[in-house]
Symmetry: C2
Subunit: 558 residues, 2 copies
């Protein structure tokens, strides 16, 4: 399924090169590199969260190989907004060169700085607002307000003599946003008039028909639930969703309840948002978690993390009665969040657990307590018609999303030949209003795993999947160096196995016999002897136990 | 979250005991045991498919401990329909006693017999139809037609002097079913008039508001897609969904296409269904897969398995270009199926892969190509109002489903005190129209894993999860038996690890030193020495690599 790898030609003068490094083919690790006249500009640098077939992986980074050898040419990293899939990999890039300037809106920068602080990095930053234009090396960047599930998101128009690129970042087009900050379609119209040569546009919801409902519509639902709740209310959502938290604060305040924030990231992000004025905390509504127990049950709302069923987060621990707050009869739990694919079973386990404890569980399956942060098909059509871009490359999505987005562009009149269905590493050159795919880099997944970055390979992950599903058997034999005679063993140990280890008693004589035979036939090399052990027990396990575990033979000379 | 275990009292004469053994707390492994006057009747005996936190497990069976010591008292196994979650565990139960009679409708029995044949078991069967009554030991069983996503499903009314229980099996209430076979609400009404003391009722869709749409409505959608498809059409669905396949056959036939069945279970089940007259194959429409290549691309429909993204099934192999049929531009793939929670990422991988190959992919997210087989809340309300049961115990569902179903019963007037929210192993006694929970058995998950049944423990699964996520390190040291002096090692091997094994060179001297110290302090016991090794390397790995792998130390005396 991998695109064919083609080395791009050297970049011709007067040409703008665009390389999406991450986010095409996946929802996450968004990163795009722009090159002009020897200088590089990066837009976003996010992480991707692993799927079930990537066990043990903590995070997945974009492949930095496109910029690794040219770090001194990087004029800056523009961050469109403060979500992990757009800023999460910044610390890993800055570890390669700490003084790359970071450009973004105040909230985006504050969240990025908080993250960098954990990595003990103090970045160089440039804070920008909508309407502002900054010259970053040869790139003239105009920042345009867009509306998303976090405040202060920006699109960026990148202007060079070779052409103009508009990159939306993540966005939707809520027409009555909570903070009044609209996606600035007037600027989109003006930029369109001036001519947008290439439009990089968020595809996450391109396959969802119609329009994303208003964030504002959730407020009354939250209010009516909180108003009627007989006891405690626990609301779980994303820890960066300032407007969702705002609505919870307002609803609680309207019905005489106080709110305690739960979860490290929730407390950190909301403290930042409140300090910067994005979160308007009604006088006296917030209360420290430690003091929340003193408030009567029908006067408190807990605002927590864990809406995706993450086993270590507050909500899962509550469902397992492993949290200080013992959920019980009369409590109401609201999952005011999406359900990210792959998390279904975990989230349902949490819902089952909380229901069994007696709580009423409200979620997007049974009430209107969540809306998406991404433009659906109907909004994207507006966008294309207002902008009228010359070329389009859908970004931010799995292939099915990119494909659906391209179809929308084509439906509004963008020629199919001007619609680029790219992949991570696709190299696009823009010159005289013509965007052409000129190459394809071979970019991989870069896994963060414990303290290692980029060392876990797909072979390691395959080993893990085998270990996880089938367990392993280790067989140790100590042989006399000179004669090859077995001194100790075979000792057999197995893990992740159904059977008692005594089940292997049957195969030990076979292994010993196979080894003797090999030694008699002149085999002395321990690797070759190990293969003899592997084959003998492997065949036996497959036939006898119908399993294919990892087999780790070890022949030691003593 | 486990219910409190309480031994039930000895069963009093004149009392009917009901024990749901599986299906309460999970969607799958449905099994209920009825006891009266020393005899046992079993309704259904299905399997559950494992979730991502049960790696390597093939199947999960009901815990047979309730019947294991009383197999001679079992008068029969009534099977309500032919789905795996209702018949899949029959072979495992019959391995305990082969001559337990199996009672079911013709299609149900045919599918069960095909399954048993693979286990080389020829069962004793009794074939029954709707409207029929059979005396099975002390249990008078009346069979009632119900409508589901497989033909020939039956509810069963179990009548004893202690009271009457109606068990729906899986059902919905399609009012215009494809085969005209309605859920027999007239019989429900009559049974209600006569008095149903306990109603065991399918909960799968109890939390879905409204009504399940008609299966019939899918036909025109399939037809219009097949009519307009420029090239090949591949439809994936469940291999037992006779009516869905029927609609594909009819749509293909109407537009001059032939149909080839793909996938072993699809071919097997549809052959059975056609032989028994449940699948009406239009003259000449079916063609053998081997000959399908000779047909022009716009004259063929492939009907395949793999709608859940199962990696080994036809559809995934097509998406990975690992199947004989090379999907390409112009092909249309229809996933005429549900999306079972937990399968999302796998299914999306298939959709992305097929889209990338150029196929148009139609699924329930973008077209009306699937309806559920289970009654939604609106239907259940009808059912309660027609039946007016004295007591209700929701079955077939996770806790959230059972809870939603109980709420529906209560809304129609069943007293809350007569609504039992049970668990697997809950013991209910019925006498004089009163159903009482009298105990709770401690029933576990029985894992089938390779050739082992019930041997994999939760501890083994935990080991597998650790192995899968963190890998393992084995450390082998050979010591001289008399002195404890290290002769060979420490040899360190690691799997599922990012780092090269040379990373462990740093810890080897520490291990050797720790061992020497222990030996000097008089430790000779190899287990104690192994613990020294484990602690030393464990601490080092946690600090240095920030990982918590499984550590397998082995000290061998030579």
């Amino acid at each position: 399924m991998k695109s064919t790898i083609v080395d791009p030609p050297a970049l011709a003068p007067g040409t703008l090169r665009i390389v999406p490094v991450g986010g095409l083919g996946e929802i996450g690790r968004n990163m795009t590199v722009f090159e002009y006249e020897g200088k590089l500009l990066i837009v976003d640098c996010g992480v991707l969260f692993p799927e079930e077939n990537q066990p043990g992986v903590d995070l997945i980074l974009p492949d930095f190989s496109v910029v690794r050898d040219r770090l001194d040419d990087v004029v800056g990293i523009v961050l469109t907004h403060g979500h992990e899939d757009h800023i999460g990999a910044v610390p890993y890039l800055l570890k390669l060169r700490e003084d790359i300037p970071i450009i973004g809106s105040p909230l985006t920068l504050a969240l990025t700085e908080a993250k960098l602080k954990e990595h003990r990095i103090t970045p160089y930053t440039l804070d920008v607002r909508e309407g502002q234009t900054e010259q970053l090396g040869p790139f003239e960047c105009e920042f345009v307000a867009v509306n998303h599930s976090i405040p202060d998101a920006l699109a960026v128009a990148i202007k060079t003599p070779a052409g103009v690129v508009l990159h939306t970042g993540d966005f939707k087009m809520d027409q009555l946003p909570l903070d009044g900050r609209l996606t600035d379609l007037r600027s989109f119209a003006r930029l369109g008039e001036e001519g947008v040569d290439l439009f990089l546009v968020d595809s996450t919801n391109a396959d969802v028909p119609g329009f994303t409902p208003l964030e504002k519509d959730i407020g009354p639902v939250l209010e009516s639930i909180i108003e009627r709740a007989p006891r405690r209310v626990i609301v779980a959502s994303f820890s960066s969703h300032v407007h969702r938290v705002q609505q919870v604060l307002d609803a609680a305040h309207a019905h005489g309840r106080r709110v305690a924030l739960l979860g490290r990231s929730m407390v950190r992000n909301m403290t930042i948002a409140a300090e910067l004025g994005y979160l308007k905390v009604p006088e006296g509504v917030l209360i420290d978690f430690k003091k929340a127990g003193d408030i009567p049950d029908d006067r408190i709302v807990y605002m927590s993390t864990g809406s995706q069923g993450e086993p270590m987060a507050v909500l899962s621990r509550m469902a397992n009665l492993e949290h200080q707050i013992e959920v019980g009869e009369g409590d109401t739990v609201i999952l005011a969040s999406s359900l990210i694919p792959g998390n279904e079973n975990a989230v349902y386990r949490v819902i089952n657990g909380l229901t069994k404890l007696g709580a009423t569980v409200v979620h997007k399956g049974n009430a209107k307590v969540h809306v998406s942060g991404h433009a659906a098909a109907g909004e994207l059509l507006y966008c294309y018609n207002i902008l009228k871009p010359k070329n389009v490359m859908p970004v931010h999505g799995e292939y099915r999303h990119l494909f659906a987005n391209a179809a929308l562009a084509i439906a509004t009149g963008v020629p199919e030949s001007h619609t680029i269905l790219g992949d991570d590493g696709t190299v696009v050159d823009l010159r005289d209003g013509v965007a052409t795919v000129v190459g394809q880099y071979d970019l991989g997944f870069v896994y963060v795993d414990g303290s290692s970055v980029g060392e876990i390979t797909d072979a390691d992950l395959k080993d893990r999947r085998i270990l996880g599903e089938e367990g392993f058997i280790s067989i140790i034999v100590v042989v006399e160096a000179q004669t090859g005679r077995v001194i100790v063993g075979p000792e057999i140990h197995a893990k992740g196995f159904a059977e008692d280890e005594s089940v292997f008693d049957g195969v030990k004589p076979k292994i010993a016999a196979a080894l003797s035979e090999a030694v008699e036939n002149g085999t002395r090399d321990t690797y070759a002897l190990q293969q003899v052990v592997r084959r003998t027990i492997g065949r036996w396990v497959n036939t006898k136990l119908r399993r294919r575990p990892m087999i780790v033979p070890l022949v030691i000379e003593a």
